[in-house]
Subunit: 768 residues, 2 copies
């Protein structure tokens, strides 16, 4: 048999240039990897239809009943995801309120008995134990569960499979760890982990349970493909936000605006269905708690902040202070992102050193937090209770607007009302109306500064902690501060200023607009604020965009997740695809020797290979995973087969179905004898015979439009002129990464084709 005109043995001299540069250690969270250098990340083909003979036969053999079964199953899965996510969301809140509530009740009771030191020790010890527990399970069981999880899910929806992010292990640690971390009074949130939890549930559901634990169902095999899985994960993350904030429409929009990379109208409708299930079930569950059967969960007001104040009037004179708030909020938001990035880099260096360092760091943060929460309220002076309040004053128990803390009866400590509370209650207090005189300016200022820095220093610990709610708390205190400073010059009350402040800081750090707008509306239940919230979000996002990226993009960069942007960088219009193709190309013949295939698979990490027929003509593209399946099945030919053999009889399409997360087989798992190595495989039936191709002269920007628009994993570059090899390269996600391109063409980095943005070289030097 002819050996083919292109070497299939990978003996090219510059082989090393394409093998991935760094081996990646297990703990993904504690890595500072350059973008594109993370070989553990398996990119997955997204929306491309793989057209090989085996799959085509499978499709044709599907009956009408099977198609109906598939369609109805997809809806049923959405329903199940909605049910499970809302149950978990409810359980989360219930657990947090009861654990944190019990802690505050015990501490408050001790303070009532004047045993302040003992109260502090119990408070700090409880926090430490809870934090320690969260950190330990995360470090030892599922390091993938650390952080908010939103960047990972966002990257997954963009086409990047980080290993084990959707395993059952990760899900369990995420739920338990999030409950304990939030209960431990750390300044961390539960919304991000809830999104990751929702995505996990969706991924596990469509996989039919955990592969590892054998809990899979045969009839879910239809969903063993990337497209359906991605759709359901989008629905799951929408459900997560819906459950965290009880904001169903906001959840859909957040999934659309921030999470999803590809969006179809059908997906909107499907995720709307999922969040509707969440909204309806959550309402029912909260109603059952109204009778007081849920311990310290209270009247069910804890997962929403119903701050209805219907009659808001505001005029043109209120706009200048709001604009000022938005501008400062935007600057503060971008500063927040900047500082968080620096702290995360520092923490990553510490966490990299080993488990002991991770635990030590988490404990330090926990003790520091306990000291600040318990210590700072002593700085505030006690204030007499207002006469006309409908709430009890001072409150001694868990929640409430007026905390007694160390004060005399009839007095309350305004700083303790903010610090010595769960984040949910602090937000509620800040958003509440008719409380303009409750907080002193210095108290709010102190709270704002503490929250700002504490949340930055808390996020990086190795535990399932989010950043959404801390930013809301910080923003709300900032808004309240502005409200106090503006005073009677504005018609808006301080509670409304707090809402606007939260909007400004969220807009400045997350840079989401429409979804944030809707989430805030659903949280505060007040539509009359809409024009002002829109104004604030517009201004703060615009201001912050002039400085740096949004926070999730920054974290993705830090984690080395190769996120592919929709828009092409301007310099990509200057380059052709042949400028981006790098490294030697490995090509297989239509009928290939087993030994060649094994050698190429062992020596390269590529996930797709062109298949070429005689006379030199491109037959298609074959995937690494399919080759491994073929090798595992060992249905080889002793001599090159001359006629077409029907492959459908030997293989079923489910053999080639996408494996569960992190369960992909590798070439090292396959043992072949010397004899088998000399045999042949007919690759034709397993080759995607209609891969997407671009001509070598196409600009990189245009190729990116195709790659990103259709959601590809591989894009073949074909020559312009005939008489040459029928394929001259493969473009993958990494080839479109700005870091990769600027590495190949460094002069572009200095050109005029960069994004317009303020830069502060001095700052960067100081902080790095």
């Amino acid at each position: 048999m002819p050996d083919g005109y292109i070497s299939g043995t990978g003996e090219s001299p510059d082989e090393e240039t394409i093998t991935a540069p760094l081996l990646h250690r297990r703990n993904t969270t504690s890595q500072i990897a350059l973008v594109g250098s993370n070989p553990c990340l398996v990119e997955s083909l997204d929306y491309e239809i793989i057209e090989n003979d085996v799959f085509k036969q499978d499709w044709r053999s599907r009956s009408k009943f099977q198609i109906f079964q598939y369609l109805s199953l997809k809806w049923i899965l959405c329903f199940v995801i909605g049910i499970v996510v809302s149950l978990i969301g409810f359980f989360n809140n219930l657990a947090i309120e009861n654990i944190a509530g019990e802690k505050f009740v015990i501490t408050s009771n001790m303070m009532l008995a004047n045993r302040y030191l003992a109260a502090f020790l119990i408070f700090a010890a409880a926090n430490l134990v809870l934090t320690l527990f969260a950190t330990l399970i995360t470090t030892l069981i599922a390091p993938e569960a650390a952080g908010s999880g939103i960047p990972e899910v966002k990257a997954y929806l963009n086409g990047v499979d980080a290993p084990a992010i959707f395993s059952f292990r990760t899900l369990l640690v995420k739920i338990v760890g999030s409950i304990t971390a939030v209960s431990s009074s750390l300044n961390v949130g539960k919304a991000g982990p809830m999104v990751h939890t929702g995505a996990c549930i969706a991924a596990l559901t469509c996989q039919g349970g955990s592969k590892k634990h054998g809990l899979t169902w045969r009839w879910l095999r239809f969903f063993n493909n990337d497209r359906d899985r991605r759709d359901l994960v989008t629905c799951g993350s929408a459900a997560g936000i819906a459950a965290a904030f009880r904001a169903p429409v906001g959840g859909v929009l957040f999934a659309l605006e921030e999470m999803a990379s590809w969006w179809r109208s059908a997906l909107l409708w499907r995720s709307f269905f999922t969040t509707a299930v969440v909204a309806i079930l959550l309402r029912g569950l909260t109603d059952t708690c109204l009778s007081g059967k849920c311990g310290l969960f209270g009247t069910g007001g804890l997962i929403m902040f119903d701050v209805t104040s219907v009659d808001i009037t505001y005029h043109l004179t209120d706009v200048p202070p709001v604009l000022l708030l938005a501008v400062i909020g935007g600057i503060a938001g971008s500063l927040y992102n900047f500082l968080l990035g620096k702290v995360l880099r520092l923490y990553n260096l510490i966490n990299e050193k080993g488990t002991a360092y991770k635990i030590l760091l988490a404990c330090t943060v926990s003790i520091l937090t306990s000291c600040l929460l318990f210590g700072l309220p002593w700085l505030a002076s006690c204030r007499p209770c207002p006469a006309d309040t409908s709430e009890p004053c001072p409150t001694i128990g868990r929640s409430g607007n007026y905390k007694k803390f160390q004060c005399e009866p009839g007095h309350y400590n305004d700083l303790a009302s903010l610090f010595f509370n769960t984040n949910d209650d602090a937000i509620k207090n800040l958003f509440s109306k008719g409380t303009d005189t409750e907080f002193h300016t210095t108290s709010v200022l102190l709270f704002f500064i503490t929250c700002f820095f504490l949340s930055i220093f808390s996020y990086g610990i190795v535990a399932p902690v989010g950043i959404f709610i801390p930013v809301i708390v910080t923003g709300a205190s900032f808004g309240r501060l502005v409200g106090l400073l503006v005073g009677s010059n504005s018609n808006l009350n301080n509670g409304l200023f707090a809402v606007l402040g939260a909007a400004s800081l969220l807009g400045g750090s997350m840079r989401v607009t429409v979804s944030l707008c809707v989430i805030l509306l659903e949280l505060t239940n007040n539509l009359l604020l809409l024009p002002l919230i829109m104004l604030v979000l517009l201004v703060s996002k615009t201001v912050a965009d002039a400085f740096n990226n949004n926070i999730y993009d920054q974290i993705m960069m830090l984690k080395g997740l190769p996120y592919l942007e929709t828009h092409a960088e301007p310099y990509m219009r200057q380059l052709t695809v042949s400028d981006a193709v790098s490294g030697p190309l490995h090509v297989f013949n239509g009928i290939e020797r087993v030994g060649n295939i094994v050698h190429v698979l062992r020596t390269t990490g590529h996930n797709g290979f062109p298949v070429v027929d005689e006379p030199p003509v491109l037959y298609g593209l074959i995937l690494r995973s399919h080759l491994i399946t073929l090798l595992k099945k060992k249905r080889f030919h002793i001599t090159p087969p001359l006629t077409y053999v029907d492959a459908g009889k030997k293989f079923s399409s489910s053999d080639f179905a996408k494996q569960g997360f992190g369960n992909a087989e590798t070439i090292e798992d396959i043992d072949l004898t010397e004899e088998e190595m000399e045999m042949y495989i007919d690759l034709h039936p397993f080759t995607n015979a209609s891969p997407y191709t671009v001509v070598e002269t196409m600009s990189l920007a245009k190729a990116l439009t195709l790659f990103r628009g259709v959601g590809l994993r591989h894009l073949l570059v074909v020559p312009k002129t005939s008489g040459r090899l029928p394929v001259i390269g493969i473009l993958t996600r990494h080839d479109f990464m700005p870091e990769h391109i600027l590495g190949l063409h460094p002069m572009l980095a200095r050109g005029k084709w960069k994004r317009l943005r303020f830069r502060f070289p001095l700052w960067n030097r100081i902080f790095s």
Copy 2:
């Protein structure tokens, strides 16, 4: 010079098969054309970057300042669009309320003086004159302005340029016609026309004003491309909904869910900005009317329905009636779509006969409407005014809950409160709370039936009329009816049932979910209803989807707009692209004789032609419009040029910029001498050298993913094997239309690969 191996002269015997079958008359609205047979529709290339030498040089020559100018101009244009749309929206409402209000005041005063016949005559005459005016200006000046305009804008955003839909003429007629039609008490809406108005303003703004009237600015030339124009039109339509319902977030979502075919996160942000401008300005304008300076505009409550009833409680027992309402609403919605389609077909037959018929039809509808609105309230018995109402009862003037009509003092006519009012007021009355006893069941039933059929029979007249608000009125009366029938068995009051009824009918006919949800929330300003509205929308859309398509898709079908769906029909996976390619291919050589080009352009209607070089290799694709520009410029070579000539010196990219709507030049405009016909053009610099290509064996479904995902106009089909022609066909939008494919492969229509849907052959036979 060699003539090329493919005939460029178009003498193929089956030439006729590809020329468009029917010539299209001017009045697009009165046509029932088969999909794909409408040659006046110019498809436009959407998001493909045209890469020819001339454009590349232009891009490279742009300075940093020009890029900055471009970016800031885009934002400024959005701002301008927001301002203009909100001003027009406000003016519309002001005019309608004053014209219709004046009419009702005069009629009511006459009835107070017992001059009932004179009152009717004046009422009917006023309505007739207003309708006549709207119909006349539409028929004579801008027939493109007829109907709601949403289908046209939706098709435009999908890539179909219907002629003159965005001209200045159309805009004027749309605004004036919509005001008069709505004022004439026809059961028609103003939301759809407002969307079209917004889109028109956006298109004219980015064009720099009306081309025809010479109002263009040089510095807007950057926006002479499809991509930017489409982005701004999306923003404009979002602004239209925002202005119509004062629902900024709903507007963005409607544009996203219903209008746009391609959506990027950046566009979300841009349209959010536009609607924020609308929301803020509208609020300011409405505030200025609070002091009563706007005539009968009232307290500014007319463009919103603030039915705040904060404390809603509902329990599990309320779900069954709501579910029932949703199911019936879904069935009613699909029936509505079905009947509307049939009536539109009938009306089109009438309207086709000439201007006189159009006017006659409109007059008939107007007189019928007047008779019903004035006549039906006489059937209702007078009811005594409730003692505890805060509103005046009976009201004599324009608006109000309790219309006196023919009743004694102290009594009111409940049917007149619904009929003898503007649609806005009727909706307000139906949505209002605490009015459970105000309307009698038979009155509401009568109103529901009348609205249902009247709105179906009103939409088809040749005037700028929408269908959104009539559906809301009909749905609200339906919901109220259900509420009355359920009575005290439910905790929900009848006003809330009306809101849910509106949701169910809208969900059943428009099939939008998230955006409708948000629009209804913004209209009613009540977030506690959210879970119920979501439930209703889910159920009604699901039920209605089992019967037929959404209403806008149906109207697009009727108008022959070739809308390209995102999802591929199942049978498209069974076909390869070569199965869909039809007709002979016209190919140009890289250096082509002028005579050949002229001949091909004259004999075919194709918009793109492959350019092939010697030896047979595909060079690229050239557009008809660019060829016409080249012919017009007459820079020909007497002999075939041998070396490359820099084309940038002879042409600037603005020569090739997209012309204004409906201003494209045709080949007939160009006169060439016999000598010139024998000269040559070097097509290389003007050819898009990197067109998207697919291999002939690719399935049609996969090619559609590419075509639709990237937004193409032409897709070249290349052969699998070498040694053949380098290109074997061009796929355009029409080749992906199900009608075209099923025409080529009729056996597929009978296969199992169809969508699952209930079918009623009997009904179709009765009604057609």
